[in-house]
C-alpha cells in the first residue's frame, strides 16, 4: 500500500478494507466455511479438496497468508493495521488462513532477521506459498529443559557439514520436508558451540520414528541423523551463533504457539453454551451448577485478559521492539488452553472420557483427545518452570539460582 501514507490514513485503511473484501469474496469459496483444519499446515491434507487447494494457492500467491512479511520474499507487505483489517474481513465471511505451520510461526520471522539475502530468497517464498513443511530439531533425549547441553554433532568437512546425533519431540517430523536444527559445531564451549542449520529431510541418513503419546496420536517423532551431509550454505548466521538465533526463534514460538497467534482464538462452541446443554439451566436461564458456572466465568475472564495482552504485545512490538509482556504469553496461554480442556471434560462428565467408537459424539471424542494432547502445551517450547526462570532472570533481574 504505497499510497497509504499519501492520503488520510483512515481513508486509506478503508480503501484497503474494500479491496480486501473484494478479493476475498472473489477467491474464498463459501463451501470452505467451517472446514479449517488446523493440523493441515503441519500434516498436509486438504489436498483432496480442489477448492481448498485453489484457496491455498490464491492466498499463497497473494502473500496474505503471511500478511506482514516483505513482498520481496513473497509476503503480503501489509502494515499491522492492514493485516488486522484483513483478519477482520476474513472473519466476517468465515475465511481462514490456509498458510501456517512452523515455517510461518517460527522459522520465517527468524530467517528475516538472521539469514543471508540468498537464504531468504530460497527459503521464505515457499513458506509464504505453504509449499514446504518445516519441523524443529531442538530437543534431544539428554537435552530437554537444559537445551544448551545438546550433543548432535555437526563437523566441518571442508565442502559440507557432517551431522550425527539424535533429536526428539520433533513435531510433525514424519510429514516435514525440511528441518531447522540446533547442532554442535564446537564441543569445547556450551552456548557458543551451537549453530543453526537448515536440513533437507530427504537427505540420506535421516530417519524418523513417530512416538505414540497418551492421546493415542503420534504428533512427535524421534529423528536420527547418521552421517548426514548438509551443504555449507545451509548454516544460518555464523557458526556458534546458533544459540542466539535459536532463542530468538523460541520467542516467536512462545508468542505464536500458545500465545498471541492462532491459538488464542477459541474454536467451537463456548463453554457456557456447552454447560447449558449438558448441565441445564436454572429459573433465570443461568448454568444450573453454580460452582461450575463461576469457574467457567473465571476461565472466560482470564481468557479475555490473555487476549487483551496478546493484542497489547502486538501493538507494542511494532518497529522491532519486544514488549516485556510477551514473556508471559506462553505460560498464560498454556494455562488457559489446559483449563478450557479440563472444564470441557468436567461439563461432559463420563461422556468426556470416551476413547473411541459408539456412544460418544465426535465433539466428545475430540474433547478427550484434545485434553490429553494439550498437556504438551506447558512442556514444549520451554516448560512453565523454564518460562518462570526466564522471567525472573532476564526481566526481573533476579540472579541465577544455579
Amino acid at each position: 500500500m504505497a499510497t497509504a501514507e499519501m492520503t488520510n490514513p483512515a481513508d486509506a485503511l478503508e480503501d484497503f478494507r474494500t479491496e480486501a473484501a473484494g478479493w476475498l469474496a472473489e477467491n474464498f469459496p463459501k463451501s470452505l466455511v467451517g472446514k479449517e483444519n488446523l493440523l493441515a499446515t503441519v500434516e498436509g491434507g486438504g489436498d483432496s479438496d480442489p477448492e481448498a487447494v485453489a484457496w491455498k494457492k490464491a492466498m499463497g500467491e497473494k502473500g496474505w497468508g503471511t500478511p506482514t512479511w516483505p513482498k520481496a520474499y513473497g509476503g503480503g507487505g501489509l502494515s499491522y493495521r492492514e493485516a488486522r483489517v484483513l483478519q477482520e474481513e476474513m472473519g466476517k465471511i468465515g475465511a481462514w488462513n490456509p498458510i501456517g505451520g512452523m515455517g510461518v510461526m517460527m522459522l520465517g520471522p527468524t530467517l528475516l532477521e538472521f539469514a543471508s539475502e540468498e537464504q531468504k530468497k530460497i527459503h521464505i517464498p515457499p513458506i509464504c506459498r505453504g509449499e514446504i513443511r518445516w519441523c524443529q530439531g531442538y530437543s534431544e533425549p539428554g537435552a530437554g529443559s537444559d537445551l544448551a547441553s545438546l550433543k548432535t554433532k555437526c563437523e566441518d568437512k571442508g565442502d559440507h557439514w557432517l551431522v550425527n546425533g539424535q533429536k526428539t519431540w520433533t513435531s510433525g517430523g514424519q510429514w516435514a520436508d525440511w528441518c531447522f536444527a540446533l547442532v554442535r559445531t564446537d564441543t569445547t564451549r556450551k552456548h557458543e558451540g551451537i549453530s543453526f542449520i537448515l536440513l533437507d529431510m530427504k537427505t540420506p541418513g535421516v530417519e524418523v520414528k513417530p512416538i505414540r503419546m497418551i492421546s493415542g496420536t503420534s504428533p512427535f517423532c524421534e529423528t536420527f541423523f547418521t552421517d548426514v551431509k548438509v551443504p555449507k550454505e545451509n548454516l544460518v548466521g555464523e557458526p556458534g551463533q546458533g544459540w542466539t538465533i535459536g532463542k530468538r526463534l523460541l520467542q516467536h514460538e512462545r508468542t505464536n504457539l500458545s500465545g498471541g497467534g492462532r491459538m488464542s482464538r477459541q474454536h467451537g462452541p463456548s463453554l457456557s453454551d456447552m454447560a447449558k446443554r449438558y448441565v441445564g439451566t436454572d429459573d433465570e436461564g443461568c448454568i444450573a451448577d453454580t460452582d461450575l458456572r463461576m469457574r467457567i466465568v473465571r476461565h472466560e475472564m482470564a481468557a479475555r485478559a490473555f487476549q487483551a495482552t496478546a493484542r497489547r504485545v502486538m501493538l507494542e512490538s511494532k518497529g522491532g521492539n519486544i514488549s516485556l509482556a510477551s514473556s508471559i504469553l506462553k505460560n498464560v496461554g498454556a494455562r488457559i488452553t489446559q483449563e478450557r480442556a479440563e472444564l470441557t471434560l468436567e461439563i461432559m462428565g463420563m461422556n468426556g472420557l470416551g476413547w473411541s467408537g459408539d456412544g460418544f459424539s465426535q465433539e466428545e471424542l475430540g474433547a478427550t483427545r484434545g485434553w490429553l494432547w494439550g498437556k504438551a502445551v506447558s512442556i514444549y517450547g520451554g516448560t512453565t518452570e523454564i518460562q518462570n526462570n526466564v522471567i525472573a532472570k532476564r526481566i526481573l533481574g533476579m540472579l541465577d539460582h544455579q
Partner: protein, 371 residues
Amino acid sequence: MAVLNEEQTMLRDMARDWARTQSPVTAFRKVRDAGAAIGFDPGAFAAQAEMGWTGVIIPENYGGSDFGYLSLGLVLEETGRTLTASPLGTTTLAAASALILGGDEAQKQAWLPRIASGEAIAALAVDEGARHDPRAIAATAYKSGDGWTLSGTKVFVAEGDAAHLFVVAAQTGQGIGLFLVPGDAQGVSRVSRNMVDARSHAEIVFDKVVLGADALIGPENGAGLLDQVLDRARAGVAAEMLGLAVQAFEDTLDYLKTREQFGEILSRFQALQHRMANQFTQIELMRSVVEGALEAIDAGRDDIAEKVSLAKATACETLHLVSREMIQLHGGIGMTDEHHAGFYIKRARILENAWGNAAFHRERFARLAGY
C-alpha cells in the same frame, strides 16, 4: 503499557516525576500521622490542579483539557504508586463523569469549571451498605413544590468529609435518579469514619434536603446513567490499583535483591523467583484489561460494562495477591508500622471494596455475557 500519543506520554512522565519527587510515600505518612478527617493533603491537590490534572476528562469549554479517561488513568496510576492522598480520582473522574454524561448545559456550567480548577470537590454518594450494591438504594427524592426533597443515608462516601458537592442516587418513584446536592445544603450532615487507609470515607445523612428542579441530572429513571457513571468510577479505581500493584511489586523485588539469608541474596532462591514471576505475569494481565477498559470508555465502545467488570475483577484479584506477597516476602519488617508495606495492603483492601469487589464483578460479567 498501552501505545500512547505524545501528550499522554508527556502527562505520564510528568505525573511519574511529580509523584516520585513531590509526593513520595513519606508524604502519605505525614497525612496519616496528621490524622485529619479530610484524609488528603490540600497542598498536593492544589499542585495537581495547578498542573491541570483536575481537568483531564472535562471538555475544554468547561475549563478542562478533554484528554480522556486513559490519560487521567495514567496520572492515577502514577500517583497510586506513591499512595498520594488526593481526591483527584473521586472528584474529577467519578463525580465529574455524572455531570459530563448526564448534566444539562446549566448544570455543567455551574459545576464543571469549578471541578476542573480544583476549587470544588465533588463526591459520588451511592452505596447505603458495607458492600457495593447499586440496586439496593433506599434514599428517596420526592417532588415537592418546583423541586425535590431528598432523604437518606449514604455510607463510606469517598472524600465525603471535604466534598462541596454530592452526586446522590435516590429513588424517584420512576426509578433511580441522580441528584446534585451542595455540601452546605440545609439537612446535610456528615459523620467521619476512621478507616485503615487513613483517607476520607464519611457517612452522609440527607434529612429532607430541599432541592430545586435543576438538581436532577439525567432522567428520573436514571439507573442506566448511574451504571455508566459507576463504570467510569470503577475504571478510575482500577487505574489507581494498577499503580499500587506495580509499586508494591517493585519494592518487594528490590527488597529480595538486597536482603541476605543463609549467605545468599534472597532473589537467588528459585522458590521466590517463581513467586515473583507469577506476580509479574498477573500484573501484566491486569495492565492489559485496565488500560483496555479506559480505552473502551474513550472510544465510546458498546462493551464498556463488560470491559470494566473484567478490569475491576482482575485488578481486585491481582492487587490482593501482590499486597499479600509484599508483606510475606518482606517478613517481619513488612509488618512494622515503620515500613510502608502496611500502607499498601490497607489501601488495597479499601480499593478492592470500592464500587464492587471481585465477586461482584465476576457475577456482573457473567450476567452480561449470558452465563
